[in-house]
C-alpha cells in the first residue's frame, strides 16, 4: 500500500505527495505526457533529443547539474514511446533546490545553440553505441515498422535514422517545448522525508507562477487490426541466428491487460516458465528464449524472442515456439501454474515498495493512466484473472495473421584477435 495525497495548482500542474519518513532522502519526479509517439514522421527521435537538451541550462539557471550536485543530489531521465520522465534524489533537507531547478526548466529553457550542437553529437553517439554498434542492436528499428503501419509506434525512441537528429534546429526545439512542456502536461510526485504542507507551499512558490500554456490534445492515427502474416529476414554480422515473433496486443488500459501480462509470465517468467523448461531444457531448441509485452498506452506488442542452437534450423525454431503458443490457446493453464504467476506478481509488488524512486515513478505513471490509486489496486486485478481469460487472450493474440516475424541470419564474422601493436601514446 503506497499512501499519498494529491492536489492541482491553478495552472493545471498535478502534484502527488508520498510521505515516507523512514529515509533521510527525498525524490522529485516529473513526468511529461510526451513521448516518441508524439513526433512527426520526418522528425523522429526528437522527444529523446529534447530530453538531453533539458540538461543544457534553463532561462535563469545556466547549469542544471552543478547546483544539484552541490547539494548532494543526483538526477536522471528517460524517454519512452509514451512518456518522458525526469527525477531527482537528494537529501530531504535540500528539497527546495529540486523545486528551484525543475520549475525553472518548466518555465523556459536557455535554448543554447552550443548545447543543441553538443547534444546532437552525444545522441548520435548513443544511437551508434546502443543500436548500430551492437549485435542485434537494431532489432527495434526493424521490428517496429513491421508491427505498426499507421501508428507512430512504428519508430523507436532513438529515431528512425541519425539524419533526423542531425537535422534538428533550434526553432524545432522551441516549438516542441511550447507544445509539450507546460504545467498542464506534467505530473509531479514528491516523495520521501517530506510533508504535505511543505510540498504545497514549495509547489505554489516555485511552480504556481508558471503560465498554464496550451493543452496538447493528442490525436494519433490508431493502428488498424492486422490481418496478414508479416515477415522479414536480415543477414547481419551477428554470431548466432535470432528469431523474433511480435504480435499486436491491446492497450495498457484494456480490460484483458492483466490476463495478457500473466500469459507472458506463464510463458517466460523465470526458470519454471514454459518456454524455458520446454525449449531450453527439455527439447534443447534454444540457448535462450523470452516472451514479454511492451505495456504501451496505445496498442502494444507481445514479443517472443529466441536464439536457436546451432544445429537447429529457423523453421524448427519457429515451429517449436508456435507449438507452445498452440498449447496455451487450446488448454487452460492449470490452477497451480496460475497461482504461481499470481504469487510472483504479488510479491513483486511488495518488493517494489522497498524503493522510494520506484514508488514515485509508479504513482506518476498511474496518475497518467487516470488515477494514482490504481497502483494500490493492481495486485487485486492480477489475482482476479482466471485461466479462462488467459486462454481467451492467447486465442485473440497468437494468430498467424497477427504475427510479424523477424529473422536474423548470422553472417559469421571472423573472431577478432587482440594484437600487440604500436599504438601511439
Amino acid at each position: 500500500m503506497v499512501k499519498f495525497n494529491r492536489f492541482t495548482l491553478d495552472n493545471g500542474l498535478r502534484v502527488i505527495v508520498h510521505e515516507d519518513n523512514t529515509t533521510p532522502m527525498a525524490v522529485l519526479n516529473i513526468l511529461y505526457d510526451v513521448g516518441a509517439r508524439d513526433e512527426d514522421a520526418d522528425q523522429t527521435g526528437f522527444a529523446h533529443l529534447f530530453e538531453h537538451l533539458m540538461f543544457g541550462g534553463s532561462v535563469n539557471i545556466p547549469s542544471y547539474d552543478e547546483p544539484l550536485q552541490r547539494v548532494g543530489g543526483e538526477n536522471n531521465a528517460f524517454t519512452s514511446n509514451d512518456i518522458t520522465n525526469y527525477y531527482i534524489t537528494l537529501p530531504s533537507a535540500n528539497i527546495e533546490t529540486a523545486f528551484w531547478l525543475e520549475s525553472d526548466r518548466m518555465l523556459s529553457l536557455a535554448f543554447s545553440e552550443k548545447s543543441l550542437e553538443v547534444q546532437r553529437n552525444v545522441v548520435i553517439e548513443e544511437f551508434k553505441q546502443r543500436y548500430l554498434n551492437q549485435p542485434y542492436g537494431d532489432v527495434w528499428l526493424k521490428l517496429r515498422p513491421l508491427v505498426y503501419k499507421k501508428h507512430s509506434y512504428r519508430w523507436a525512441t532513438i529515431g528512425k535514422t541519425i539524419k533526423h537528429i542531425e537535422d534538428a534546429r533550434i526553432e524545432d526545439v522551441k516549438a516542441f517545448f511550447k507544445k509539450h512542456y507546460n504545467p498542464q502536461n506534467a505530473i509531479m510526485v514528491v516523495g520521501g522525508d517530506v510533508n504535505l504542507e511543505q510540498v504545497k507551499q514549495l509547489a505554489e512558490k516555485w511552480f504556481g507562477s508558471i503560465p498554464a500554456g496550451e493543452k496538447y490534445h493528442r490525436n494519433l492515427p490508431q493502428e488498424p487490426e492486422q490481418h496478414e502474416e508479416r515477415r522479414e529476414t536480415v543477414t547481419a554480422k551477428v554470431p548466432l541466428n535470432d528469431v523474433y515473433i511480435a504480435f499486436q496486443m491491446g492497450a495498457r488500459l484494456d480490460e484483458d491487460y492483466y490476463a495478457v501480462e500473466l500469459l507472458s509470465d506463464v510463458l517466460s517468467r523465470g526458470h519454471s516458465s514454459r518456454l524455458y523448461r520446454s525449449l531450453v531444457q527439455d527439447k534443447q531448441i534454444f540457448s535462450e528464449v523470452h516472451a514479454y509485452i511492451t505495456s504501451s498506452l496505445d496498442k502494444g506488442m507481445f514479443v517472443l524472442e529466441g536464439k536457436p542452437l546451432e544445429n537447429v534450423s529457423i523453421e524448427q525454431a519457429e515451429a517449436a515456439l508456435w507449438e507452445e503458443l498452440e498449447k496455451v490457446k487450446s488448454e487452460e493453464i492449470p490452477a497451480d501454474e496460475l497461482t504461481k504467476v499470481q504469487n510472483k506478481t504479488e510479491s513483486t509488488m511488495v518488493f517494489s515498495e522497498m524503493s522510494l524512486l520506484d514508488k514515485a515513478m509508479n504513482l506518476a505513471s498511474f496518475e497518467l493512466l487516470g488515477d494514482a490509486d490504481m497502483l494500490n489496486q493492481e495486485t487485486e486485478k492480477y489475482l482476479a484473472v482466471t485461466s479462462g481469460q488467459i486462454k481467451e487472450a492467447a486465442n485473440k493474440i497468437f494468430r498467424k495473421d497477427n504475427s510479424s516475424t523477424l529473422i536474423y541470419l548470422a553472417e559469421k564474422a571472423p573472431v577478432a584477435e587482440t594484437a600487440f601493436s604500436e599504438l601511439e601514446n
Partner: protein
C-alpha cells in the same frame, strides 16, 4: 504572489549525520557466521549465503563460476524444474551470483513463506548433483552467450584490460569457448564439496525479521548442515601484471571504438584510498566530472565516459572507460591524457572540490535506500577486513581532504605513460 528571484539558488545544508544500521551477529555451531539487519515495514526478507571462492587454478579456470551458476540445476531430491517451481510458487526469487572473491546464493522471500523456501536452499547447499544433461546444456548455452559478447567492443576491451592488469588470476580471467567445453562433472562435484561448507559461509539477513523467523533460519542452517573433511582453500595466487602496455584490436567496420585505460593501484585497505576516491570523483566519477564535461558535454565524442577504482582483496585498479566515435578515438585519448595531467599540475579549484564533497556525501546518504543497502554497506567492509569506522573516516576524509593533497596523490599514482591502454575498434 510574492516575487521570487529565480537566479538565486535556495539555501542548502551540508550533510552531517550519516547513520548506518549495524547487524546482530551470531556464530552457528558449524562455524557459519550470521549477520542480521532487522528493519523495514514490508513483510519480506533477503537472505544471502556468501561463500569464499576456492583458489584459482589456471588449468581449470571456470570451476568457481560453473559450480555457482549450476547450483539451481538439480539436487538428489529435486530436479531443476522442481527447484524453480517451488521458489516461483511461493513468489520468491532465487539468484546465484558469481563474483571475483565470493559466490553467493540469494533468496528474496515473503516472511510467511520462509518455511517453504528455506528447505530448498538447504537442499541446494548440501545435495546439488550437477547432472550431466544440465551440465551439457550449461556448456552449450554459455558458449553461445560468449559468442554474442565477443562481438561487443566494450566487452573485449574490459577482458583485455583485466587480463593485462591482473594476469593469470581469477580477476584477469577471460573465458574462452574451450574453457567451457572442457568442464567435467567430477571436477564440479569436488569443487562444490570443498567450497560450499558452513565454515566457508557467511549468512547475511536483511528485512523485517521477527525472532521466530531468525530462529527458523539459524535452526535450518545449523543442525542440518555439517562441514566436510577438508577445509576450503580460499587463498589466491599473487597478481602478476603484464609487461606489454598497449592492446589494439582492430574492427574495420566499427562505428565506435571502446577505450579502456588504467593501472594497478592501492585498494580500500590503504590509507590513501579514500582521498583517491575524491580525486577519482573529480576526474571521472560522476555526471559532472571533468571527463564528462570535456569529452561528452563539450566535444560530443561519446554518450558516456567515466573513471573508477576497483578495490579487490588482492589488489586494485584505476581505470577510464568509454566508447567513442571511431573517427575521434585518437582525439579522445589525447583529451583523457590532458585531463589526467591537469590533475598533476593544477590545484582543483575550491568551488569544484566543495561541490564534489557534497555530491559524494549526498551519494552515500542516497545509497542507503533501505535495509538491503545497509547490509550491502556492511559486506563491503566486512569482506575487506575493515570495521564501521571506515565509513566515519570516509565522511571525514571527503569533508577535509584539500587540493594540495589531491595534487600530490595525482603525482604519486597517475603516470599516463605507464598506464595500460586497450582499444577495440579503430584508432
Amino acid at each position: 504572489m510574492t516575487n521570487i528571484d529565480r537566479t538565486l539558488a535556495p539555501d542548502f545544508k551540508a550533510i552531517d549525520n550519516i547513520t548506518l544500521l549495524r547487524p546482530e551477529r551470531q556464530k552457528l555451531h558449524n562455524g557459519c557466521n550470521v549477520f542480521c539487519f532487522n528493519s523495514g515495514d514490508q513483510e519480506l526478507v533477503r537472505i544471502e549465503w556468501i561463500f569464499g571462492n576456492l583458489r584459482f587454478k589456471p588449468a581449470k579456470p571456470m570451476l568457481n563460476m560453473a559450480v555457482n551458476t549450476m547450483l539451481t540445476e538439480g539436487t538428489s531430491t529435486l530436479n531443476a524444474a522442481q527447484i524453480a517451481d517451488k521458489i516461483d510458487f511461493y513468489g520468491a526469487f532465487l539468484q546465484v551470483e558469481y563474483g571475483y572473491e565470493n559466490s553467493t546464493v540469494t533468496l528474496y522471500s515473503l516472511n510467511k513463506h520462509l518455511h517453504h523456501t528455506l528447505p530448498v536452499i538447504l537442499d541446494l547447499l548440501t545435495n546439488s548433483t550437477f547432472p550431466e544433461k544440465e551440465l551439457e546444456t550449461f556448456k552449450r548455452n554459455q558458449q553461445q552467450k560468449l559468442q554474442v559478447s565477443l562481438q561487443k567492443n566494450d566487452f573485449i576491451a574490459r577482458r583485455d584490460f583485466n587480463k593485462a592488469v591482473y594476469g593469470d588470476t581469477i580477476y584477469g580471467l577471460g573465458a574462452t569457448l574451450d574453457n567451457y567445453k572442457s568442464l567435467q562433472r567430477d571436477d564440479l562435484v569436488a569443487h562444490y564439496k570443498e567450497m560450499y561448507q558452513p565454515a566457508n559461509c557467511t549468512i547475511v539477513i536483511a528485512g523485517k525479521i521477527e525472532p521466530e523467523a531468525l530462529a527458523l533460519i539459524t535452526d535450518t542452517f545449523d543442525k542440518n548442515w555439517v562441514n566436510g573433511p577438508t577445509a576450503a582453500d580460499t587463498t589466491q595466487p599473487d597478481i602478476q601484471p603484464a609487461t606489454e602496455l598497449l592492446y589494439f584490436t582492430e574492427k574495420p567496420d566499427a562505428l565506435q571504438s571502446a577505450i579502456r585505460i588504467g593501472t594497478p593501484i592501492i585498494n580500500r585497505n590503504h590509507p590513501d584510498f579514500q582521498q583517491l576516491q575524491v580525486l577519482n570523483t573529480v576526474f571521472g566519477g560522476y555526471f559532472g566530472s571533468r571527463l564528462m564535461a570535456n569529452i561528452r558535454e563539450d566535444k560530443g565524442y561519446t554518450y558516456g565516459i567515466g573513471s573508477g577504482l576497483s578495490s579487490l582483496k588482492q589488489g586494485g585498479a584505476f581505470f577510464i572507460a568509454t566508447e567513442v566515435g571511431a573517427d575521434v578515438c585518437k582525439a579522445a585519448v589525447t583529451e583523457i591524457e590532458k585531463e589526467l595531467n591537469l590533475l598533476k599540475t593544477e590545484l582543483i579549484p575550491n568551488e569544484e572540490l566543495a561541490l564534489v564533497r557534497n555530491y559524494m556525501l549526498g551519494s552515500l546518504l542516497g545509497s542507503l535506500e533501505n535495509v538491503f543497502s545497509h547490509a550491502d554497506k556492511f559486506k563491503s567492509i566486512y569482506f575487506a577486513g575493515l570495521d564501521y569506522d571506515y565509513y566515519d573516516r570516509y565522511a571525514a576524509t571527503v569533508k577535509s581532504v584539500d587540493s594540495a593533497k589531491l595534487l600530490e596523490l595525482a603525482n604519486k599514482y597517475f603516470h599516463f605513460a605507464q598506464f595500460y591502454k586497450v582499444i577495440v575498434g579503430k584508432y
